[in-house]
Symmetry: C2
Subunit: 138 residues, 2 copies
Amino acid sequence: MPECVCAALRMATRAVTQIYDDAMRPSGLRVTQYSLLARIARLQPVNAATLEDEMYADQTTLARALKVLEKDGLIRRVPNPDKRVKQIELTQAGRKRLVDARELWAAAQADIVGLIGDAAWKDTRTRLVRLLDAVAER
Amino acid sequence: MPECVCAALRMATRAVTQIYDDAMRPSGLRVTQYSLLARIARLQPVNAATLEDEMYADQTTLARALKVLEKDGLIRRVPNPDKRVKQIELTQAGRKRLVDARELWAAAQADIVGLIGDAAWKDTRTRLVRLLDAVAER
DNA sequence: TATGGATACATGCGTATACATGTTTTATCC
DNA sequence: GGATAAAACATGTATACGCATGTATCCATA
């Protein structure tokens, strides 16, 4: 594991992403798509800017991620008085896909948390929160 | 910060990557390229498979990352008896680029570690090591 | 020694990511 | 009310990432 904070995070991310993506393959969703869809489900109707803030992701990254979900018919744009705003919500197919994928996600999550232990994950997560907070307030 | 191990890691990775990339921009290297170049420098002459193992990255990901460094004239392929093997080493330009970038990387690293504290980073890193080890041995 | 399998890497494809920049719509201010 | 600035999103480009698959080379063995 490298000393570089970024390289270390990227390495762990590569390893972990593969576990989730592999587990979730039958659902037709990658873990990134699942996470985004789940977030939309919680916040809907929600605009792109809100998701960007929540996810600490670039506007252009979100725009294209949303385009994929839209192409697959999992989300749709809802009319909005301010025509600049992309207000979105889940479609019926999106809700179904999310339900179908949830247990696959949960299995992968339980698998990984089981490997290191729940307390260790809670601790790791707290560390990531502090790191993100520090970077965000910089 | 999400409960999902993967989403949490990706979020932190996005935030941290931007700090490094921003700091390193004058060098013409992204942090991912810098990390790879630095690793090659330590291991050279080294083949792609070794780097894959070290970085826990897919073979195809490495192949394309190397292609970029090669296109920029920072690494070159060295003759090898086994013609399947892509044995690589730094070029003169690669060594110079690495030296020039090193202090930019160090400044970003010091910046981030300074934000959370050295002890906190050591702890975080240990957590990431355990996570990676657990996933790798799964 | 011919050949089938294994090894090491390359390529096609699609998503993830972000910078620079463009477009559309709304808000502001004289 | 019109010019201008700001807000919100879209697009061009390039790298990061990995699955499925292809290609070249090497090795083992009949």
